[in-house]
Amino acid sequence: MRPSFPFAAIVGQDEMKRALMLSAVDPSIGGVLVFGDRGTGKSTAVRALAARLPEISVVAGCPYNNDPAAPNPDCPHCQDAPLGRKKKVATPVIALPLGVTEDRVVGALDLERALTRGEKAFEPGLLARAHRGYLYIDEVNLLEDHIVDLLLDVAASGQNVVEREGLSVRHPAQFVIVGSGNPEEGELRPQLLDRFGLSVEIGSPQNIKARIDVIRRRDAYERDPAGFVKSYARKTGALRRKISAAQALVAEVVTPDAVLEKAAELCIALGADGLRGELTLMRAARAMAALDAKTEVEIAHLAAIAPSALRHRLRRDPLDEAGSTARVLRTVDAVLGAAKTA
């Protein structure tokens, strides 16, 4: 396999890059939804980020990526593995293809063993492999509804429960869902939209110079992947350190009451249903502060993250051509405008 494209070499797309970094800093923000045209670097960015995240240490041979520090007592692999047998692996990024079956996602009876050896065994699915990493769904809007329901349920509970074909298995499955799609081809149900933590809208760069940069870098990468990745080694290292530092810092970031109040005000003004919006807004703002190496959330963090955290939670207005982004920005200006300049 060739090395993936360096995250630091992606031109523009700042909002997407930021959302992905925030989800790495604090996975509890929830998934990231990326909507945009084809060929704008959606999947490149996801793969690129995961390859630059700090490695995770897993029990060797465990298909569930269990942490050796906290082995799952129900996992036969962790129990069988001799103590201390662990290894470092890259943060997993599992791509979920369209048309995938439920069996492949949640896992199923291991047919091979059932039929040839007469054993009842569980064959872990994609959810097990994505544990402690990313689950990437290209064209999430075209995925069958019952699969999406299932994914979001597991993502929210952090556990995959399988009850089928005489199997009764549960295993941890904590991952960040990154969904991408082209909104012209189909929409997500509002209930599902709301379950994603952040959403970003991307397009190809409008500026010719940026577009040329994209092509130049991509061409250089295609020509010599290893060499190109190496030329970005320093920037990649800096990025990794920044994320590691923020991961360590995020638990200490405090949120002043004034900021909390503004967040609530913002959500009410926008009519975002439910409390999920506020929660995500606060978590994202905290992660944002941590990335900034600050220990206190500022109004500016809130303003910066509000479009990503809220735009997919508004009631849709079929005639509003400008879209939800403009509405969020208007409201952010109205609610936070005074505070931002103060």
Binding site: M1, R2, D37, R38, G39, T40, G41, S43, A95, P97, L98, G99, V100, T101, E102, D103, R104, L109, L111, E112, R113, L115, T116, R117, G118, D138, E139, N141, L142, L143, E144, D145, H146, I147, V148, E165, G166, E184, E185, G186, E187, L188, R189, G203, S204, N207, I208, K209, R211, I212, V214, I215, R216, R218, D219, A220, E222, R223, P318, L319
Partner: protein
């Protein structure tokens, strides 16, 4: 000036595909016929590596590799089979009937291409209608887009000798990097959003240069790339009356004036105009109209809408027997049925072994799967204008017509929903239901009077219809109105604003491609209702000419259509 000959372009494309790398492949739009056969033979002659044909209905196990069920059962140990994507190696994969390819298949092939697999894909798109086309997830990754439609068959020349192609490959490998500016600018001017297009065009131009025996890209190579890669993807035409001054002498310090993005002088000497000119020349004159129509169709076509509404939902619905099958496909294994099938054969099978194993002997033919069939339910959505103007004239008649329709819907076990337009805003009197009694009661109790909030009514209908679609129902909209809107979407009275809002909402509804019937309830057929029907792309039926039976027939036809 006559444009370049499409067939010789196609032949060059085949050679470029054989020489170049990282091109993804070729999307060929053509019906089966002598010309296509000859062209495929030509492709086959050029290809150095194996060519495999991919059946459109291929399952995952065969595509990506997996357990070889028949082998595993007969030998009693796991036997893995390689997938077609592995087997093809650096060869060519031919995908016939690409317009019928499932989006899942396209996504998997696309993912393999993204991961750097060395094969190229030849997608044979046999679509007849504009909205029938190969999934964009795949075509976006294929560099060359060709159409052989409307071309007369003629004998094709022999493919170039392997030594010629080998020489071109060596030239390509030694070619210095090509500056991408012109390609990027041309792609942007043609309204191509995907950043893959200029990159692929760049590779195609380099391949073309190598085939022509050049060691660097010349203007004609770039023009060829524009015709083969950029023009077919164009979504807008660059202004034709572009009166650019002659290219200025290239300034070496170009990158720092980022504002001058219109500057048509890239540093490599091939102006973007060359590409644009080539792309423009190869576009048929009516292309923009076609592009727009295509885009609209793509947005509204039922095949492209999201979620599990597709007919392939095998997991829900009523069980449909337990046929033999492969449990790794879309169907699930029925363990009990499988064992039941295998049981009677056990004594016989055991006799085949000198030392029979302890476990049950199951062969592939025993395996039974569960299959479900989901009956697509229909939803008849009635949007009834109960305003003063209708109440005066025909509300009673409209109610009668609806009752007849309801009876018919009841027989077919369709769902029915009722929205009334009356007063300041539309009101959903009845969310989708199968209860005929309730519907009749609500309908009878519906008083007339007030304004006509047409926009608000259409919006409510749209919301309900989309919701029904997400649940896997086929909604059909029946609008009964005289089309005289007088309440705007925000609830304020005013004819002009109300009409503008209604028109705009009708446009949105039209985009949802909802089968619609508009019944004009005004005493005489009138302009507003007919105009609204046109805006909705609805079947127009004036009530005076339609007795209840006629309406029933129209709705029946509408519902049977999908």
């Amino acid at each position: 000036m006559t444009g370049p000959d499409p067939i010789s372009d196609a032949l060059l494309a085949a050679q470029i595909l054989g020489v170049g790398s990282r091109l993804g492949g070729l999307a060929l739009r053509a019906r089966a016929g002598p010309l296509r056969s000859a062209y495929l033979t030509y492709l086959r002659d050029i290809a150095a590596a194996p060519i495999r044909r991919l059946p459109p209905g291929i399952d995952d196990a065969r595509l990506l590799g997996g357990l070889d069920l028949a082998e595993a059962l007969s030998t009693g140990r796991p036997v893995h089979a390689r997938g077609l994507l592995d087997e093809v190696g650096a060869g060519t994969l031919i995908l016939p009937m690409a317009e019928r390819a499932a989006s899942g298949l396209a996504a998997r092939i696309g993912a393999a291409l993204d991961a750097g697999a060395g094969f190229s894909v030849v997608a044979l798109d046999e679509g007849v209608e504009a909205e029938e086309h190969c999934p964009a997830a795949l075509t976006d990754r294929l560099a060359l887009h060709l159409t052989l439609e409307g071309l007369r068959a003629r004998p094709l020349p022999d493919a170039p000798a392997p030594e010629v192609l080998g020489h071109a490959r060596r030239l390509l490998a030694a070619m210095p990097p090509t500056p991408p500016e012109a390609f990027v600018e041309a792609a942007a001017a043609l309204g191509i959003a995907s950043m893959r297009a200029p990159l692929l065009a760049l590779e195609v131009a380099r391949g073309a240069a190598a085939i022509a025996g050049r060691d660097n890209v010349a203007a004609e190579d770039a023009a060829l790339a524009a015709r083969l890669v950029l023009a077919p993807r164009a979504t807008s035409l660059p202004p034709a009356d572009e009166t650019q001054p002659a290219p200025e002498p290239p300034a070496p310090s170009a990158p720092d004036d980022a504002e001058k993005t219109q500057d048509p002088t890239p540093s490599d000497g091939i102006p973007a105009e060359v590409l644009l000119e080539a792309a423009r020349a190869s576009l048929p004159p009516d292309v923009l109209a076609k592009l727009r129509a295509g885009a609209a169709a793509a947005r509204g076509s039922p095949g492209s809408r999201g979620g599990g509404a597709g007919p392939g939902g095998h997991r829900r619905g009523r069980p449909q027997g337990r046929p033999p099958g492969d449990p790794r496909g879309p169907h699930r294994l029925d363990l009990v049925a499988t064992l039941r099938t295998a049981a009677p054969w056990q004594p016989l099978r055991r006799k085949l072994f000198a030392d029979p194993p302890a476990h049950i002997l199951i062969s592939k033919s025993d395996i039974r799967v569960r299959r479900h069939r989901q009956r697509r339910e229909r939803l008849a959505l009635f949007l009834v204008d109960a305003s003063g103007s209708t109440a005066m004239g025909r509300l009673a008649e409209a109610k009668g017509a609806i009752e007849l329709l309801l009876a018919e819907a009841y027989v077919r076990r369709d769902h029915v929903a009722l929205i009334a337009m009356r007063g300041a805003a539309a009101e959903t009197l009845l969310p989708p239901t199968r209860s005929l009694v309730q519907t009749k009661r609500r309908l009878a109790a519906l008083p007339g009077g007030g304004g006509t909030p047409l926009a608000s009514g259409l919006e409510a209908a749209l919301t309900l219809a989309l919701g029904a679609r997400r649940r896997g129902r086929d909604p059909v909209l029946v609008v009964l109105t005289d089309g005289k809107a007088n309440i705007a979407r925000d609830g304020r009275p005013g004819r002009a604003a109300a009409r503008a809002d209604a028109e705009e909402m009708a446009r949105v509804l039209r985009g949802a491609a909802l089968p619609t019937l508009l019944i004009d309830t005004s005493p005489r057929p009138q302009r507003p209702a007919a105009e609204l029907a046109a805006a909705l792309d609805a079947t127009y039926l004036p009530l005076p000419r339609a007795d209840a039976r006629g309406i029933g027939q129209s709705v029946g036809a509408l519902m049977a259509a999908p």
